[in-house]
Amino acid sequence: MRLVIAILCFASLAARAGAGTPTRIDFQRDIAPLFAEHCLKCHGPDEQNGGIRYDQKERAFGIGDSGHHPIVPGDPEKSELLKRIVSTHKDKQMPPKGPRLATFEIETLRAWIAAGAKWPDTPLTETTAPKSDHWSFQPITDPKQPSVKDETWARNPIDRFVQVSREEAGLTPAPDADPVAFIRRLTYDLTGLPPTPDEVATFLSEFGRDKEQAISSLTEQLLNKPSYGERWGRHWLDWVRYADTAGDNSDFPIPQAYLYRNYVIESLNDDVPYDRFLTEQLAGDLLPASTQEQRNRQVIATGYLAMARRFGSLVEGYPQHLTIEDTIDNLGRTVMGLTLSCARCHDHKFDPVSTRDYYGLYGIFASTRYPFPGIELFKAQRDFVPLIPEKEAAAKLKPTQRETDKLTAELERLLAACDAKALDNAAKEPTATVDQQRKMAGELDGMMHKARKAGEALASQLKKLPTLPTAYAVQDAKPVNARVQIKGEPTRPGAEVPRKFPDILGGQTLTDDTHSGRLELAQWITDSRNPLTARVIVNRVWQRHFGRGLVPTTSDFGLRGEKPTHPELLDWLASDFMANGWSLKHLHRRIVTSRTYRMSCQDSEDNLASDPDNTHYWKFNRQRLDAESIRDTLLALGGNLDSSPQSEPYPIPAIKDWGYTQHHPFKDDYPTNKRSVYQMTKRLTVAPYMQTFDGADPNVCTSTRDTSVTALQALYFVNDTFLHEQAARFAKVLASGNATDSQRLEAAFLTTFARPPTTAESQLLLSHLQTTRQQAKDDTAAWASIARTLFRLNEFLYLD
């Protein structure tokens, strides 16, 4: 009531003031200054909040993000501008803060609009398409290899780019690493495991004959091992936040998730071209397939999209917008190096990405059916994709299909009604009284409750269905364009945006909009003219080889990210990568056979003084083993590493028995001695070991692994039961047979560090062995003490 009175008073005041407004209004004299004073700060050249600007006629008369036209010439009632400047609602009023427009100002605007909003045509100085001088949005160039002072140093083009900047900085390169350091470095880097003594011996003898040949044949050998895919697959899984659970508040397990993990590992081992790899993950289901096997592989690939995080516990009011948000956030960071999600609530503050760009992408995923992994109040899987021919699947489900369809239709109907009611409530909310608002909310609650019941009915039906082999994968749904969500709130829909690619990257739209647009999206992303895709992945690969990216902010190539330290090298790598069929193995070969990769970690006082961070690559950065490599090495040395892949689902209880709730979330673990990449990964309960050793966060893109040094890690090395057990196993191998203590120690060193012990080390360790023997229960126990000591050495954890 109070509000109504206020408006009435205001209206009468306005009417009186209206008499005094000038009859002939001149845009330049009367209107432009009002815009300048009250509007342009947020709707002008610097910011175009809501997709509106009042220094351009087209953008002031056009449709805003809200779906309304700010100015409708001749019709003040329909002009959103006028509604906003008279509104006193906290979410609507303009300007949002500070003094309101004076009554005569409002009336001047009203009269100007009523008279047709005459706005002299001015030639547009800027085009409407965004432009940016920012480096990452410029086309990828193919720079010529620079000339360098010392022509003898470089082994391949990478080296010349690195060398030229290093020479300019006046830094001397470190000598090459010794072959022992090199084989450990390369073997861990490409496979995540230490080299065996035999591999070391072979390499050393080849290295003595022909260094280049030895390095290149070792590289081939390692790239051809299945453990290559396990190592680099893990990197990819870091970036796409892989997990075996959904991340909703009961953390529902996804028994089929492993298929996607294995797809990643196998694809890397097969060196599937990166553009194809991305296309399969975004739209594999939409690609032609000549066999069921090929179709299955491509369907499983879309597990990347399915992997988006899930939220909440209810089917009604299910926050699908958050799952889509997580999809776009990950796609942006991982693949495009852009923080697109900033544009969810407002135009990006720093990068040329608008809210409309965001919802242009959003529509593509809103047109995609995500599999439903189950949730506290709907404990069944839904919309997983069968991995058998359609007809076969239909035949198996036929006896139950009618009932399923009926229950599904009922749920969909009720959910649609809830959505409509929620929108209606939100639309009425600003003008409703508190009592009315509470009443409307109560009505919606009642409808949601009905939908929940319908959901429970459907879920119990789904639990009864015959089990088909399925994948956690996506399919096309009914194609729709998204509407902008004002401030990111789905209950505040604005203008509809056609499905499209961001303007700054080309702004392509769908020529045929009868599909989701995922296939087109994959094409836009993998277009060789896209300035980001190739740069982002070569930089990610470089980062995992060297510990730091050429662009240190590997997930942010935007204006707030760091600039490339070697822009020409980045472009050369990206061009070379694309020219060689987007082959990741080619990229690895280029990198690891470079002289840059071969340098030792040796410090030099002069270099340290002028380039302490080694930005000019005058040495190799020493690397700390990651969590997986530490555990896998301990298993390998203990002789109990099971090197077979996890090619079956984990023994997760059958779906019909699922009773997971937020009170009793899924927490099971299925430990094996397989490589760490095959360990069960849960979103809500991260294993303490992974937390201690900076493991990946399965909830977001982990761009780089932290390499902290903490006392808790040291406590692990000192006291952890698993570490002690592995040391005992290693000791058992060492202590068996008839070798002398010195021979045993040498074997221990060769296996662990790829080198024999020095005399000083032998003395210290053998003397410790003698002391220990006096207290230990047997020889193996004494050797276990030696093994533990080796595992704790810096040389174990840090690779030169």
Binding site: D556, D613, L684, V686, D694, V709, Y716, N719, D720, L793
Partner: protein
């Protein structure tokens, strides 16, 4: 390892007591995040003890008691239900507290109750994450991690952010994760019992052998280091073993409540034989005080796990049972901090994820209630004996001084001398804050 700052960060994470020569020199040039560092403004509190009551404590039956026992019309037919336990005011400050918290009621003159909280979500996991990280949906760093990142810690032999939790909370490990903040700021979980922290004891139990092994390790690592003298990460790791060695002494000592006098143990109710959820809470509270004394920056106590807890959907008497276990030790913590002169610079925060409905659910329970609930704070420059915010006569809506979770966070940081708008971390292209783009310091409750 990658650069000086990272290396130093790593280094400081291990120790600042050790290798004083080199380290202090390095620190002078570039202080690291776990060293105790200066706040933005003058701090009222040096440390936080946060008590988290899991499951959604009914405000109506505890710290915002509502008398409406037989519904609006007195018949009970409308399902409205007032405080089922009865209540009384604290004799000194008058703050009304229900009868299931007699000990806490006695210390209300040290406490400021906020009765006008609004939760960030209506469900447990989300609201629990909201209360801890500011975000009910996406993974974000926990408040303890932010505080550790902002202020460092006083004792390098103990973790800076300790979470004493007999069970995993709703939301799992994300509740105390550091997320994008450096991993050294993540919460270290301590489990009440004989082995509170992992790997504090050698599996074979031989101290002599362990000492010999660590001596040998130091010598061998020293040889390795001799040709790598500039790598601060390697040096830091050598030191981390010394710190670990000291932690093996310091941590069990900190957790050893047997060394406390009988009177103190009784104060915390450790002489009581308890069972059920919250039975370990006396241990948790007493250890919290010991950790606070030993310089831990942020200590969180989580009373129970995701079940059973305060989530009394069917039976409010569950509240009484839980309260019986936690009331005395919680009050004892405040009394004990006070008598040691530590309450002035220790901020005690008691929180839960949301309140419970004024209407009855099931036989004698209540549902989740987001629109208003109570939290309280004590010490650390907060107004004692004060009540902030007013709810309507049935405890359904706030009618005065609504406080959002972001406001609570801003206030806690403020008491620690940090401006919530300035405590930022650059991640994925923007500066993140605990309070996102929200938050207001509730200045009305500051002493």
């Amino acid at each position: 390892m990658l650069n000086r700052r990272t290396a130093l960060r790593s280094m400081i994470s291990s120790s600042s007591l050790l290798m004083p020569g080199v380290l202090s020199e390095l620190l002078a040039a570039d202080a690291g995040p776990l060293s105790a560092h200066r706040s933005h403004t003058r701090a009222k509190a040096k440390r936080v003890i946060m008590i988290y009551a899991t499951g959604g404590v009914s405000h109506i039956d505890t710290f915002d008691p509502k008398p409406l026992s037989k519904g609006r019309d007195g018949t009970g037919s409308d399902k409205f239900m007032g405080n089922v336990f009865g209540s009384q005011p604290n004799a000194r400050c008058g703050t009304e507290v229900s009868d299931i918290f007699p000990h806490l009621r006695d210390v209300m003159d040290e406490v400021c109750v906020i009765r006008s909280m609004r939760a960030s979500h209506f469900d447990h996991s989300e609201a629990t994450l909201g209360m801890h990280t500011g975000s009910p949906t996406f993974a974000r760093p926990s408040m303890g991690s932010w505080v550790s990142y902002g202020l460092g810690t006083f004792n390098q032999n103990l973790p800076s952010f300790v979470v004493i939790a007999p069970f995993l909370p709703y939301g799992g490990t994300q509740v105390y994760a550091s997320d994008f903040l450096p991993a050294i700021h993540q919460g270290t979980r301590v489990i009440p019992g004989d082995n509170p922290l992992a790997n504090l004891r050698s599996p074979d139990g031989s101290k002599v052998l362990q000492n010999q092994e660590l001596d040998l390790l130091a010598k061998l690592n020293q040889q390795h280091l001799s040709s790598r003298a500039h790598d601060t990460a390697l040096a830091a790791r050598v030191k981390s073993f010394e710190t670990a060695f000291q932690m093996q002494q310091a941590a069990p000592e900190a957790f050893d409540i047997n060394s406390e006098p009988e009177s103190i143990r009784r104060l915390y109710g450790l002489d009581r034989k308890l069972k059920g959820p919250g039975a370990d809470f006396g241990w948790q509270c007493l250890v919290a005080r010991r950790l606070a004394e030993r310089g831990v920056r942020f200590i969180e106590l989580i009373d129970t796990g995701s079940r059973p807890n305060w989530d009394s959907h069917g039976e409010m008497n569950e509240h009484a049972e839980l309260a019986h276990n936690v009331d005395q030790p919680t009050a004892a913590l405040i009394t004990d901090l006070k008598q040691r002169g530590m309450l002035d610079d220790t901020l005690v925060v008691w929180a839960t994820e949301f309140g419970r409905t004024p209407t009855r659910e099931g036989k004698n329970g209540r549902g989740h209630h987001r629109d208003c609930f109570s939290v309280w704070m004590a010490g650390g420059g907060i107004k004692p004996g004060h009540v902030h915010g007013v709810t309507d006569d049935i405890g359904k809506y706030t009618v005065e001084d609504q406080v959002e979770v972001h406001d609570l966070h801003a206030t806690i940081l403020h008491q620690l001398g940090m401006d919530h708008e300035k405590l930022t971390f650059r991640h994925a292209g923007r500066d993140f804050r605990l309070t996102d783009v929200h938050g207001r310091v509730v200045s009305e409750i500051l002493a």
